[in-house]
């Protein structure tokens, strides 16, 4: 397998009047061809800013990619001009957003919104694009696609709109699909439909997916690899079975303990005390130390690096696990 996307030490900061807010602070991430990688974290962890940085959609000012590389097929996206980036966006990398209610244009028909993408990127003429648009709608499971092309978004339910978004995103056969909380706004039965559809499409077209979510259940259903973020940094990275089998970082362990299970009865949930600190008040040392039940002196003074453990098959940013490796 070859790396399709490689983030190297990505730093996206926001400049406010007084403070410099490190929303994404040194993220390394690799996505192989055909692989589904889940980026997990709570609100404020920087997962959405990471995805927007890849798309170069960070509002600037105040946001800026201050350091690092985003290598897509070997090409550094950070150095591209806006025009070059426009050719990649929607064509090689496309994105699905959380809110299917607001991400479609309400005054254009569904057909027009798919046709626009096809005419711009694939240089199809209008009637070719229209035929292709109907095909795409059939692909995402609409039975009356021909009629639907001329409908407006308000006539569709949330699940149907999200399927239209997937049709738009997949219309140019992208190599990478970024899905930012694609099912969070949907009901569970509809969520199951959408996740199934995404899995099928990625297999069929060998598309890599970067799935951004806070729902660990969704992660275990669709992802191959999981990257856990906290306060703008990656704290753990592992294959999905390994992570659910034995989470290593105290934050990941806490996160898993916080979810009530559908199959067991527990009296109390194991919660993580305190709140996620705001970026302008990130603690010195390990950023999770103030909430960590295992924190010791070193954690409060030095920031642990993201280290390989278990023979390089997974990574964790924690002194509890780092020492063993350092001596071996």
């Amino acid at each position: 397998m070859t790396a399709l996307l490689e983030l190297k030490n990505l730093k996206t900061h926001f400049m406010k009047k007084k403070a410099n807010i490190p929303a994404v602070d040194g993220v390394d991430l690799t996505i192989q061809k055909g692989e589904t990688v889940a980026l997990v974290g709570e609100s404020g962890s920087g997962k959405s800013i990471t995805s927007l940085s890849i798309m170069r959609l960070i509002p600037s000012p105040p946001g800026k990619i201050v350091d690092g590389q985003i290598l897509f097929n070997g090409q550094d996206l950070v150095t591209l001009t806006d025009d070059q980036m426009c050719k990649i966006r929607g064509n090689d990398i496309s994105m699905i957003f959380q809110e299917p209610m607001t991400s479609l244009n309400p005054v254009l028909t569904i057909g027009e919104q798919i046709i626009e993408v096809l005419m711009y990127h694939q240089k199809l003429n209008k009637s070719q694009a229209r035929t292709k648009a109907v095909e795409m709608l059939e692909l995402v499971g609409f039975s009356r696609a021909k009629a639907l092309v001329d409908e407006y978004p308000h006539r569709l339910s949330g699940g149907m709109r999200q399927r239209v978004m997937i049709a738009i995103a997949m219309s140019c056969n992208p190599k990478l699909l970024i899905a930012d909380e694609p099912t969070t706004a949907l009901d569970v039965t509809i969520q199951a439909q959408i996740l199934d559809l995404m899995k099928d499409l990625s297999k069929k077209y060998d598309t890599s997916i970067l799935l951004i979510t806070h729902d660990l259940g969704v992660v275990s259903e669709v992802a191959d690899k999981v990257v856990v973020m906290y306060c703008g940094q990656v704290v753990e990275e592992a294959m999905v079975e390994d992570l659910f089998d034995e989470p290593l970082h105290p934050y990941t362990i806490g996160l898993m303990g916080s979810i009530p299970s559908l199959d067991d009865d527990l009296d109390r949930l194991q919660s993580i005390e305190g709140n996620v600190p705001p970026p302008e008040h990130f603690p010195q040392g390990c950023r999770f130390a103030p909430r960590c039940p295992h924190a010791f002196d070193k954690c409060r003074s030095a920031l642990p690096a993201l280290m390989d453990v278990e023979g390089g098959s997974r990574k964790v940013r924690c002194f509890l696990h780092g020492d063993k490796e350092a001596t071996s």
């Binding site: 039965t189 898993m256 009530p260 199959d263 194991q270």
Partner: protein
């Protein structure tokens, strides 16, 4: 309806003291108006015949997808919406037809509500102190020094630093605001709390803190909860008995063990199978029932069983006859022709 005995709605006192809340065939229909004259052209049957009983000190979970009427049910229970039909007995009193002033005099302070959105449910122009004092003033409870003591006690109960008392809601995080919402609901020592998606807007680690807090408070103060949520795992965690709603009706109502381990209704089965859950290495993948299509409109619900359009086990009878909501096993109620 074997154990859900019909009460004569004229008699306003019942003697069955085990139950703090009893709901009989509760309906809430919203009119649909059209044309220049705004004539009624139909109605949205948001809640269409709910019947259940709540025991003192227990937690009833109500789950369902968006649009199933669970929030409308919660609001109708405390008369934020006027019920279209049916009876609500609270501590033996029929509150469904009480006048507004009588309500306020007798039961308002005993039933409180915690809302979903901690950002919208607190007045941004009031400090924490005045938010918590307002219910006491309205109901004329506690005098002078007692109020200050009560404030301290409330803050202590929900784990708040008393120094924060003069801060405004925008200075707090989502989890802290939800604690304020809970503290406000507790000011008048209620018996029943209706929590409408109380933890849905919170991150998982904060959600766990709030759920633990609600469980502790229940134990300490003997509260009864009606917990409305779309999240099946949260409902399993907090509830004693669970009702599953679909298009304004309860499809299944049973102790949580029965609902989660032996669901009878095809909708409950599909709903449970659709929930993605973290699974350990080697564990067999769960079989999944994927429902076709979307929720039908409650303005024009399907004839017969409302679920028959999406039901994998539907027969001809399902589209003609409305299934009766009845007890098929002990304490296990289902509305389905299969049983």
């Amino acid at each position: 309806m074997s154990t859900l005995t019909k009460k004569d709605s004229n008699s306003s006192i019942i003697t069955d003291s085990d139950y703090i809340l009893e709901v009989n065939d509760l309906k809430k229909h919203f009119p649909v108006k059209a044309g220049i004259l705004q004539r009624n052209v139909g109605s949205v049957k948001a809640v269409d015949g709910l019947s259940f009983k709540v025991k003192k000190g227990e937690t009833i979970g109500i789950v369902g997808e968006s649009g199933c009427g669970k929030s409308t049910a919660g609001r109708t229970l405390i008369r934020l919406y006027e019920p279209t039909a049916g009876d609500i007995f609270f501590k033996g009193r029929n509150i469904s037809k009480m006048s507004e002033s009588e309500l306020r005099r007798t039961v308002r302070k005993d039933i409180q509500m915690v809302f979903q959105d901690p950002y919208a449910s607190l007045n941004p122009r009031k400090t924490l102190k005045s938010i918590l004092l307002e219910p006491m003033k309205t109901h004329n409870m506690y005098k002078g020094k007692e109020r200050e003591d009560k404030l301290d006690e409330l803050l202590d109960r929900v784990g708040f630093n008393p120094l924060f008392i003069n801060r405004y809601p925008h200075e707090f995080s989502g989890g802290q605001r939800q604690r304020i919402g809970i503290a406000r609901a507790l000011t008048l020592n209620p018996d029943l709390i209706i929590a409408d998606e109380a933890v849905s807007a919170l991150d998982v680690s904060i959600q766990a803190q709030i759920i633990n807090l609600m469980k502790d408070l229940q134990e300490e103060m003997g509260l009864t909860y009606v917990f409305i949520s779309h999240d099946l795992s949260v409902v399993r965690h907090i509830s004693d008995r669970v009702g599953v709603m679909y298009l304004g009706k309860i499809m299944e109502f049973a102790p949580k063990k029965d609902i989660y381990e032996e669901p009878l209704h095809p909708y409950t089965q599909a709903l449970l199978s659709a929930v993605p859950t973290p699974r350990k290495k080697g564990a067999a993948p769960r079989e999944r029932i994927i429902l076709k299509g979307d929720l039908p409109s409650p303005a024009n619900p399907p004839a017969g069983c409302v679920f028959h359009t999406r039901c994998p086990a539907a027969t001809a009878m399902c589209s003609e006859k409305v299934p009766e909501f009845r007890e098929v096993k002990k304490d296990h109620f289902v509305a389905c022709h299969l049983y």
